[in-house]
C-alpha cells in the first residue's frame, strides 16, 4: 500500500527523519505550502524578524550542538536576505541546510513576481545546491543535502523549492542511504598510513614542536584524540582558543 503526499509534507517528514527538531524562517508566497505543512507537524518553527537572523540562528544552533541547522525563506527577497548568513556559515564550514521557496517551474526565468536566481546567487557560498522540480525527488534531495552538509568539510547546502514541487504529490519513500557518485571518497578519504608514519617520525625528531589546532578538530569530534596526542608526546599547543577546540 502506498500513499501519496504533497511535496511539502514529504519535505517535513524527511526533515524529521534527519532528526530535525527546530527550524528558523519567514513565510511568503512561494513557501506558504511548506510553512503550512510545518505548522501541522511536530517541528518547532521559529519566526524570525529578518531572514539574515534565520540563517545566523540555524548557524548558531549548529555550532552549539554539532547538528545541522535549518533555515527557510521565501523566493526573491527572502532568499537574498539569507545570503549573508549562508556565506558566514560557508566561510566557517558550518553545516546548515537553507530551504528557499521559488516561483513555479513553468515560469522560472521569466522575471516572475519575486523571482531571483537563488541557486546562481548562492553558488559561490554553498557547498552544494539542489533545485527540486518534482516531489518524487524531494526525499532523496533532503537526505543528500543533510549528508553533504555534515560530512567531510561541513558547509551550507541550499534546497530551492519551486512552489509546484511542494503542492504536487508523490509517494513518500525515505532512502536508507545516500549514493552520490564520487562524493564519499572526498568526504571520507582513506587513511594515508605511510604519510602518518612519516609524521610520527618527524615528531620523534623534533625538539621544539607546537600544535596548531583548529575548528576541524570540533567537526571531527576529535577533542579527546587531540588531548591524547598532546598528553602522550608532551607537546604544547597554541590551541585555537578562538573556537575552543578542546
Amino acid at each position: 500500500m502506498t500513499t501519496n503526499m504533497k511535496g511539502a509534507h514529504i519535505l517535513v517528514e524527511s526533515l524529521k527523519r534527519e532528526g530535525v527538531e527546530t527550524v528558523f524562517g519567514i513565510p511568503g508566497g512561494a513557501n506558504l505550502p511548506t510553512f503550512d505543512a510545518l505548522h501541522r507537524s511536530s517541528l518547532k518553527v521559529i519566526l524570525t524578524v529578518h531572514e539574515q537572523g534565520a540563517a545566523h540562528m540555524a548557524d548558531g544552533y549548529a555550532r552549539a550542538t554539532g547538528k545541522v541547522g535549518v533555515c527557510l525563506a521565501t523566493s526573491g527577497p527572502g532568499a537574498t536576505n539569507l545570503v549573508t548568513g549562508i556565506a558566514t556559515a560557508f566561510m566557517d564550514s558550518i553545516p546548515v541546510v537553507a530551504i528557499t521557496g521559488q516561483v513555479r517551474t513553468s515560469v522560472i526565468g521569466n522575471d516572475a513576481f519575486q523571482e531571483a536566481d537563488t541557486i546562481g546567487i548562492t553558488r559561490p557560498v554553498t557547498k552544494h545546491s539542489f533545485l527540486v522540480k518534482d516531489p518524487r525527488e524531494m526525499a532523496r534531495v533532503v537526505k543528500e543535502a543533510f549528508y553533504i552538509a555534515s560530512t567531510g568539510r561541513p558547509g551550507p547546502v541550499l534546497i530551492d523549492l519551486p512552489v509546484d514541487a511542494t503542492v504536487n504529490e508523490a509517494e513518500f519513500v525515505y532512502p536508507e542511504r545516500v549514493n552520490i557518485r564520487g562524493y564519499r571518497l572526498h568526504a571520507e578519504p582513506e587513511i594515508p598510513r605511510d604519510a602518518i608514519r612519516n609524521v610520527a617520525e618527524a615528531i620523534a625528531r623534533s625538539r621544539q614542536p607546537v600544535i596548531y589546532a583548529g575548528a576541524g578538530v570540533l567537526h571531527a569530534g576529535a577533542s579527546a584524540e587531540l588531548a591524547e596526542l598532546a598528553r602522550t608526546t608532551r607537546i604544547p599547543g597554541s590551541p585555537h582558543r578562538h573556537r575552543g577546540a578542546v
Binding site: V49, G60, A64, P189, R197, G214, G216, A227, H242
Partner: protein
C-alpha cells in the same frame, strides 16, 4: 627582539586552515619549522602556507592512527622556555579610570565560571572575548571568524539557546554589530529565551577607529556612532535592560542578569571609547612585528594590573 614561539622547529596543524589572521605574512610564518597539515579538504592544504607533511584525512581517524605511533618526547626544556615567555610577556591591559571592556568580559567569565556559550559580533569586543573569556568547554565560542559578519552575535546566540536550552548563553556584542540585527530581540522575547546580551558601548565602530588611529593619522572617517539608549530599546522589545557606567557596578549587574530566567536581558556597558585591542599584527606584517606587546605597553607607562590566571600543568598539556 625577544624570542617568540616562532622559534619552534615543528608546527603540527590539525584541522586548521592556516588563515591569514593566523599566519600574518605567510613567508615569515614559523619560518624555521617543518610543517605538518592534517585536513580533510585537500584544497585547504598548501593554500596559504606550503607544508612539508600534507595529510588529507579526517582528524579523528588520522589522530587515532598517529596516537598509536607516537612516544613521549623530552620537551622539558622547551616547555620551560614557553613558560618563561608566558611569564615575561603575559596577555594583559593597562588600567584606566573609565570602564574597560576587557574588565567587563573578565567579570562575565568569572561569574559564569567559563562555562557559558558566548556569541559575539565583529570588532574589538570579539577579540577581547577571545582573549579574556576563559573558555572551558568545546562548542562554546560562537563567532564569525572567516567572513567577519557584524550582526552575527544576537541571532547566533538565539540559535544556540534553542539548541541547548539548559546552557547559559551570552551575546557579547559591539554597539555597531548589535544594531545590524537588533530586531531579533523580538524573536528572543517571544520565546522567553533567557539569553544575556552584553553590549560594549564605545559609541564607535571601535576596530575601524583603532585602524584609523594607527594607519590613517587619526582621521575618523565614519567610525563614530550615534548614541543609542539600548536600555529603552531592550524594554521596547519586552526585554530587561540594565545600564552600567561604573566599574563597581559591573559584578552586580552581571549577577542580576543571571537571575532573570523568563526573558532576555540587555546589559549596556558604557565603556572607554579610546581603548585599543593589543597585541596586533598589522596587515602584511609578520609575528616579529607585533604591535602593542607587553613591553610596549609597559614603556607607555603604567604597570599592567591584570594577568591571566596561570593554567595548571595538566590544562596546558590538554590544550585547555
Amino acid at each position: 627582539m625577544p624570542e617568540r614561539p616562532a622559534s619552534q622547529d615543528l608546527l603540527i596543524g590539525i584541522g586548521a586552515r592556516f588563515d591569514d589572521r593566523v599566519t600574518g605574512k605567510p613567508d615569515e610564518f614559523a619560518k624555521r619549522a617543518k610543517k605538518i597539515h592534517i585536513d580533510v579538504d585537500p584544497s585547504s592544504i598548501n593554500k596559504t602556507v606550503v607544508v612539508d607533511y600534507p595529510i588529507v584525512g579526517d582528524v579523528k581517524r588520522v589522530l587515532q592512527e598517529l596516537n598509536r605511533l607516537v612516544k613521549p618526547l623530552d620537551t622539558r626544556e622547551w616547555l620551560a622556555t614557553i613558560e618563561e615567555m608566558r611569564r615575561k610577556y603575559p596577555l594583559t591591559y593597562r588600567e584606566k579610570k573609565k570602564l574597560l571592556p576587557q574588565f567587563v568580559i573578565q567579570q562575565i567569565s568569572e561569574v559564569t565560571k567559563g562555562t557559558a556559550v558566548v556569541a559575539t559580533g565583529v570588532g574589538q569586543h570579539q577579540m577581547w572575548v577571545a582573549q579574556f573569556y576563559q573558555f572551558n568547554t568545546p562548542r562554546s565560542i560562537i563567532t564569525s571568524g572567516g567572513l567577519g559578519t557584524m550582526g552575527f552575535g544576537l541571532p547566533a546566540a538565539i540559535g544556540a539557546q534553542f539548541g541547548r536550552p539548559d546552557a547559559v548563553v551570552w551575546d557579547i556584542d559591539g554597539d555597531g554589530s548589535f544594531q545590524m540585527t537588533a530586531q531579533e530581540l523580538a524573536t528572543a522575547a517571544r520565546h522567553h529565551l533567557p539569553i544575556k546580551v552584553a553590549i560594549m558601548n564605545n559609541q564607535h565602530h571601535g576596530m575601524v577607529r583603532q585602524w584609523q588611529d594607527l594607519f590613517y593619522e587619526g582621521r575618523h572617517a565614519q567610525s563614530r556612532l550615534n548614541p543609542v539608549d539600548f536600555v529603552k530599546l531592550a524594554e521596547a522589545y519586552g526585554c530587561a535592560g540594565i545600564r552600567v557606567e561604573q566599574k563597581a557596578d559591573v559584578r552586580r549587574a552581571i549577577e542580576r542578569a543571571m537571575s532573570v530566567h523568563d526573558r532576555p536581558t540587555v546589559l549596556e556597558f558604557m565603556v572607554e571609547e579610546a581603548e585599543n585591542c593589543w597585541p596586533m599584527i598589522a596587515p602584511g606584517k609578520s609575528h616579529d612585528q607585533m604591535l602593542g606587546t607587553y613591553e610596549a605597553l609597559k614603556q607607555e607607562g603604567g604597570i599592567p594590573q591584570h594577568r591571566h590566571a596561570e593554567p595548571d600543568e595538566e590544562a596546558k598539556l590538554s590544550l585547555g
